[in-house]
């Protein structure tokens, strides 16, 4: 069945953002699809809850030394430029760095900020920033990578997990890569890593980290890397990596998995054919054609036919589910000191399997159907229904008011269900599910109003329908 313009826009909003409310759908639907893509890809900074208000209400977020996911959550739920944050979340899942080893969440937060700032730029530049990122340098031990005693951890992972993937380089390439990154470390690295290792907050709290290049500890000798030879440093290595076909395909597959449809987990990529080889080839070609610009690759992707036809082919990650729901309910738009809801709400994402800033390993999270288990599904449904089912939340109130303002058009069960689906920004739902929802609506509306048309559908009825829709399979997908 052909998608309507509004359905297509809703799909774009779920992928390039965290889903749209009915009002946001009205806004994006008023422009052409291509213009809507451009709007999502715009370069503006974006407005979100200002830091000063967050820090005044939650002083511990000022130091970024605990529960930083709450700080990021404020940005995620309030930004008016959601693609920047969606892209930050994308890179956070690939360049997975966790708080557990670092014990320096401020530096981890700076990494996320870097993903937001550089995530749509040229991939080479992003990798360079990443290779100078203090959290990454400590996470993968590059502060222990010395001229006379290399530590190949970062050299290995930049090739295996961050760019080309297994099977496209040799063990010798790893060693040469590691040599090129010697001397790339953090200021006061020995003291900082010891504080992190000991989880030390003394004497005056943690000190955030910044990059330092130690020339005397850098191996400036000739290296042979991926068939090329020269006195390469880290920047040279990244430029060589970035122009490899294997890198293009690796990035293409990540983009496909995050923005289009679920792929098998990364470790299986070397043995499993992509779900849509033509799409991977298209994205790889776009990567080269656009000189590695992620933004331009995404523009090509969002305007492609395979993207437009991919609605509901991904399982929402827990973070997407939580943030998307909170954006609809309008919660936490004003930080309140002494209230811990924003902290606990992000714990919920952890209970569903995705604790932001704490990926399970350097490999990141396994995505797709692996998000769903009997336990996590219950968590997901309970979370959505409890939040959509609370009429005290401003977004829920607004949705109820919007529905009631058009009650005269929506007071029969069919129209009522469709209006609720649209209001939740879901745009379409399977016929079987819709049939059941209409049955419920018919019973409630007919029972309460004895079959007569009404001016206002009771709030409880609307809330009940929101909760039912939030429990549907389609709400778990995007």
């Amino acid at each position: 069945m052909k998608q309507t313009h509004r359905e297509l826009i809703a799909h774009l909003a779920r992928r390039a953002g965290f889903g749209a409310t009915s009002s946001e759908l009205d806004f994006y639907s008023s422009m052409s699809y291509e213009d809507a893509v451009d709007e999502f890809l715009n370069d503006r900074e974006g407005n979100s809850i200002p830091d000063d208000l967050i820090f005044r209400r939650h002083v511990d977020l000022h130091t970024m030394q605990g529960h930083n996911a709450a700080y990021w959550a404020y940005r995620l739920i309030s930004t008016d430029n959601p693609l920047k944050e969606k892209v930050a979340l994308f890179w956070h899942g690939i360049f997975a760095t966790a708080e557990l080893k670092l014990n320096n969440l401020g530096s981890l937060n700076n990494q996320v900020e870097m993903f937001s700032r550089c995530g749509l730029g040229k991939f080479d530049d992003l990798l360079k920033e990443l290779s100078m990122d203090p959290a990454m340098l400590v996470w993968l031990d590059n502060h222990d990578n010395h001229k006379d005693s290399i530590n190949e951890n970062y050299g290995r992972e930049i090739l295996e997990l961050f760019s080309m993937g297994v099977g496209n380089y040799t063990e010798d390439d790893i060693k040469e890569c590691a040599r090129a990154f010697t001397g790339w470390t953090v200021k006061n690295g020995e003291y900082m890593s010891t504080m992190g290792f000991k989880d030390s907050i003394w004497p005056y709290g943690r000190i955030q980290w910044h990059y330092e290049f130690r020339e005397e500890d850098h191996d400036a000798g000739i290296k042979t890397f991926l068939g090329e030879q020269g006195p390469f440093d880290g920047q040279d290595i990244i430029e060589i990596i970035s122009r490899q076909e294997a890198t293009a395909r690796f990035i293409a597959r990540h983009i496909y998995n995050y923005f289009i449809a679920d792929e098998v987990p990364v470790p299986q990529w070397s043995e499993t054919t992509p779900r849509d080889p033509d799409a991977i080839a298209f994205i790889s070609d776009s990567y080269h054609r656009n000189e590695h610009s992620i933004k331009e690759v995404l523009r090509d992707v969002f305007n492609s036919q395979f993207f437009k036809e991919s609605a509901f082919m991904r399982v929402k990650s827990p973070a997407e589910l939580v943030i998307g729901t909170l954006r609809k309910t309008g919660e936490y738009q004003t930080p309140v000191g002494g209230e811990t809801g924003i902290f606990t709400v992000m714990e919920e994402s952890g209970f569903m399997g995705q604790k932001l800033l704490d990926p399970p390993s350097v490999e990141g999270w396994h995505t797709g159907e692996e998000w769903i288990s009997s336990g996590s599904l219950v968590e997901r449904v309970n979370f959505v229904t409890s939040h959509l089912g609370d009429h005290n939340h401003p977004g829920v109130k607004e949705m109820i008011e919007k529905l009631n303002s058009t009650t005269s058009e929506n007071n029969d069960p069919d129209s009522f269900v469709d209006a609720c689906i649209d209001t939740l920004g879901l745009d379409k739902i399977s016929e079987d599910t819709r049939f059941e929802l209409v049955n419920v609506a018919r019973q409630v509306i007919n029972h309460e109003n004895e079959g007569a048309n009404v001016d206002n559908i009771p709030q409880e009825t609307i809330i009940q329908m929101f909760k039912l829709i939030g429990s549907c399979r389609e709400y778990q997908l995007c």
């Binding site: 000063d52 977020l61 000022h62 003394w202 980290w209």
Partner: protein
């Protein structure tokens, strides 16, 4: 006019819910015998141990009270500011409970204002101070006003509303009075200090938004010494500014903390960290361009102010700057 010089640093970080050491200290004041009372705010999900600590200028830790979080008479959720009156009663605001709690100088609970509208309700009480007649002045941040009460809590007057004009406020925070009973308000989101008579008549306004000398970014606290010099915790710019009595810029303080007695004691029994620390350079570095902001510079540099939330003047005109994010107090004096 003399310059303010650094003297010493007090305290160190501890996330323990009891005992010495600070975790997000928020404000201090001095009892008549010179003991220092400090709000230990804690934070977020780790609020166990929000309390008032008492210690001396020589860093002798004495005792604590009000351990929470809680809503009982003698504990807190989010205490903000505290102030002693001439009877040595300490008044402590709690912006979450919307209350002012009053204790004697041993930490014994006396009374609470704001609960069940007794003697009145408050909306986000923050900065608090006392006139020479012990009248009580309190900032109500969510009402954008200053409320004046009698020493027994009877309503006397109130002034201010939300706005940018003289006499109006945007989420005001700190409050102090000078020796002539003029009232100074840190008008936080308007980036200025406003000065009023004790009856609420507008007298003057100092500063505007910015990072230059004399400009502020979210000032949180203000203090006035015995000769009328004005000290402003320029919180968002991570610095303290000293103004003349007429509000002209006089001096900028960035912070220059050294090891406190408590910090030295801790490091001496953790020699691995002490040794590495001695080999490190914790002063301001050349940071990457995207980190060249007051916040990032402060977060990466240990001696300078990070979260200078409160300025207070003791009986000897010493300036105490409390930093919530470095969990310590830096002390200065007029040279």
């Amino acid at each position: 006019m003399s310059q303010v010089k650094y003297l010493k640093t007090l305290g160190f970080n501890s996330n323990q819910p009891i005992g010495r050491g600070f975790n997000y200290p928020y404000d201090i004041d001095f009892s008549s015998d010179g003991r220092i009372f400090l709000i230990n705010r804690m934070g977020g999900l780790n609020s166990r141990g929000v309390r008032i600590q008492i210690f001396t200028y020589e860093e002798e830790w004495l005792e604590e009270f009000g351990t929470g979080p809680g809503t009982e008479n003698d504990n807190f959720i989010t205490p903000v500011c505290l102030s002693f009156d001439s009877r040595d009663r300490v008044f402590i605001t709690d912006e979450y409970l919307n209350e002012i709690k009053i204790f004697d100088n041993r930490g014994n609970f006396l009374e609470r204002w704001g609960q069940n509208n007794f003697p009145r309700s408050f909306k986000g009480p923050a900065g608090i101070g006392h006139g020479s007649d012990d009248s009580v002045f309190v900032v109500e941040q969510y009402k954008s006003c200053v409320t004046k009460l009698s020493p027994d809590g009877d309503f006397l007057s109130s002034w201010g509303k939300e706005g940018k004009n003289p006499g109006e406020f945007n989420l005001p925070w700190g409050l102090t009075l000078d020796q002539d009973d003029n009232v100074y308000i840190a008008d936080w989101r308007n980036d200025r200090i406003q000065k009023f008579s004790c009856d609420g008549d507008f007298i003057d306004s100092f500063g505007s938004s910015g990072t230059k000398p004399g400009e502020f970014h979210r000032p949180s606290s203000v203090a006035v010494d015995s000769i009328g010099m004005i000290y402003v915790a320029d919180w968002g710019n991570e610095r303290v500014q000293v103004l003349t009595p007429t509000g002209d810029f006089h001096q900028m303080l960035r912070g220059e903390a050294t090891l406190s007695t408590w910090a030295e004691e801790w490091l001496e029994v953790n020699p691995d960290e002490y040794d590495l620390r001695k080999e490190s350079n914790l002063h301001i570095q050349t940071l990457p361009k995207h980190l060249q902001t007051p916040y990032h510079t402060a977060s990466q540099t240990e001696p300078i102010f990070w979260g200078p939330v409160s300025v207070k003047i003791d009986a000897y005109d010493k300036l105490f700057v409390t930093e919530h994010s470095r969990h310590r107090i830096q002390v200065y004096h007029q040279s």
